[in-house]
Symmetry: C2
Subunit: 333 residues, 2 copies
């Protein structure tokens, strides 16, 4: 696999954050952003990025676009002089978001994930999917920039990400690394990409996260979602139990250690796999386990809550408070 | 310079088109698209891309985004079956657009072109500029997609374009090439990029075109603008003369051959350079001459006119009709 990553990275990435599509878009309304959640997520991200002990500085809004109905550009930098940057106080984050109610219709209507670019409907769907997800990416970049986070939208397609039967075949991580080293926060997203076997497919945000985590080696990874974490069955069921801590072995095998259930990747099939046909609990844990087995903590937590703020801040690395709600997936010898 | 272009390209690019910012945005209105012009340009592009002799097929709209005020997605592909692609009828084009009234305010307000990312205002301006130009890129991709052109937005920043004192230092042309080979039309744009001397700068659409033309070797290049071509003085002046044909030598020197003026790059300084302080006539011709000296015809023509359609069609390669208005810059031994 072509990696294209500089040999001696100077960076030390603190955190890769996944903004789950379900958390930042309105699931049942086509191409609608969940504005309140997105605003809260942006605010929490900024808080988390401030190095411990640094005084909160004035927020410099970085989206100077014209607002709807206005003919003027909003730009509140008149009092910014030529002084040096204060953003060395920011630690290094990477953001990846899912598609939620963007892109999904276009991709499933045309079957982009199955490939076959020679068919007019797949080719049209590929273009339509990319339009929808890059539109969402722009809105997320704008929301984070308004909060003073120096965000740079980067589409995996443009960054040279390609797949081979849906596995990452190439990815220009050097541009991502250079962007981080220059003090920016790259914002990547699930995207339609070229696949050298299928012609094309969908590269999911989760696969991007796994690839980035493996190569950039962040201190921890946070998945922001619309439920409190991973449950032993669909969280809508009355007796669903939140899995608070899952231990992962060197081979990627896992075991729920809190609460004390007899739930491991070996017996999950018979116990809970019935509802897990479309990438449910088991898939989520397995994906996270692939990251955790390298010694990187993974937190799955509900977006825009005090729990997500604590996870983003990295407060859970030493010990997990009893009143924290979420799922921790971590390496255990 | 790092090129990263596959050694044996299978592609044969017909045309690189520059959509001038002045032609597709409203110059005096911040962040306003010139919708009528953009629609006409998209229509002419589609016409031009159809191979000679191929029957005009049904337009398959490829922007399936939700329209404002609607909760439904517009997708007119219900009658598309599983048949093979008919778009082999399309010849290979690349589109690059300028910024016009997008990005300009943000870049000039913050001085992004001068570099200095350590200053908060430059860093904020860099983010704000990219938001504005990627917003324009998305709108142009959507307009071309609505016309059935399989467009893929590609930001130079994300494609790994960097500069060294404003000259291109690196560019991942392999992703551009792969995109073309897969039957898509890449749409690049003037962008804020990292510069390894200045920290950051603005990479203009014209520099991108020159770089792409040099490496992709298209048959011809068309600059769509808001005037009829290049004049010997500002076109607003009464006695301005349209320069119809300019001959370029192997060394990049040039001479106006039609009309028969005594105007060459050697005496331009004393004759017309007075108004040429901000990249006017001489700069335009010099840029075009850098392309033409490789044997690639350059046409500078007013967008959304019969003249632009003929230029895009490639009708001028053999002989130039008397009633064609525009400027041709071509190699002459």
């Amino acid at each position: 696999m072509e990696l294209n990553l500089p040999e001696s990275p100077t960076r030390s990435i603190r955190c890769i954050v996944k903004l789950g599509g379900a958390a930042i878009t309105r699931k049942n309304e086509l191409e609608e952003i969940h504005d309140e959640n997105l605003e809260a997520v942006a605010c929490q991200l900024r808080q988390a990025m401030m190095e411990e002990g640094s005084a909160p500085s004035k927020v410099i809004g970085m989206d100077w676009s014209k607002r709807p109905g206005s003919s003027e550009i909003a730009c509140d930098v008149d009092d910014l002089g030529d002084e040096e940057d204060s953003s060395s106080e920011f630690s290094k984050f990477v953001v990846v978001h899912g598609a939620g109610s963007f892109g999904h219709f276009q991709a499933s209507r045309s079957g982009v994930h199955k490939g076959g670019l020679e068919k007019p409907i797949v080719k049209a769907g590929f273009v339509a999917t990319r339009i929808s997800v890059t539109n969402l990416n722009l809105e997320i970049v704008r929301a984070l920039a308004r909060e003073g986070i120096p965000t740079i939208g980067m589409s995996p397609f443009s960054c040279g990400w390609t797949t081979s039967k849906r596995d990452v075949a190439s990815a220009d991580l050097s541009t991502v690394a250079k962007t981080i080293d220059s003090g920016f926060v790259p914002v990547l997203h699930g995207d339609a990409v070229l696949d050298n076997i299928l012609g094309c497919t969908i590269l999911s945000g989760d696969v991007i996260i796994r690839h980035l985590a493996h190569h950039l080696k962040p201190e921890y990874v946070v998945f922001l979602t619309d439920v409190y974490g991973v449950y032993d069955r669909p969280p809508s069921e009355n007796d669903a139990v939140l899995l608070k801590e899952i231990a992962v072995g060197e081979d990627g095998s896992w075991k729920v250690v809190n609460p004390a259930l007899d739930l491991t990747n070996k017996n999950v099939q018979t116990s809970v796999a019935a509802h897990d046909t479309t990438g449910g609990m088991e898939t989520k844990i397995s994906e996270a386990a692939m990251i955790a087995k390298h010694g990187i903590d993974v937190y799955i937590v509900k977006a825009a809550t005090t729990h997500s703020q604590r996870a983003l801040n990295g407060e859970l690395r030493e010990s997990v408070p009893e009143d924290w709600f979420g799922t921790i997936i971590r390496f255990s010898k």
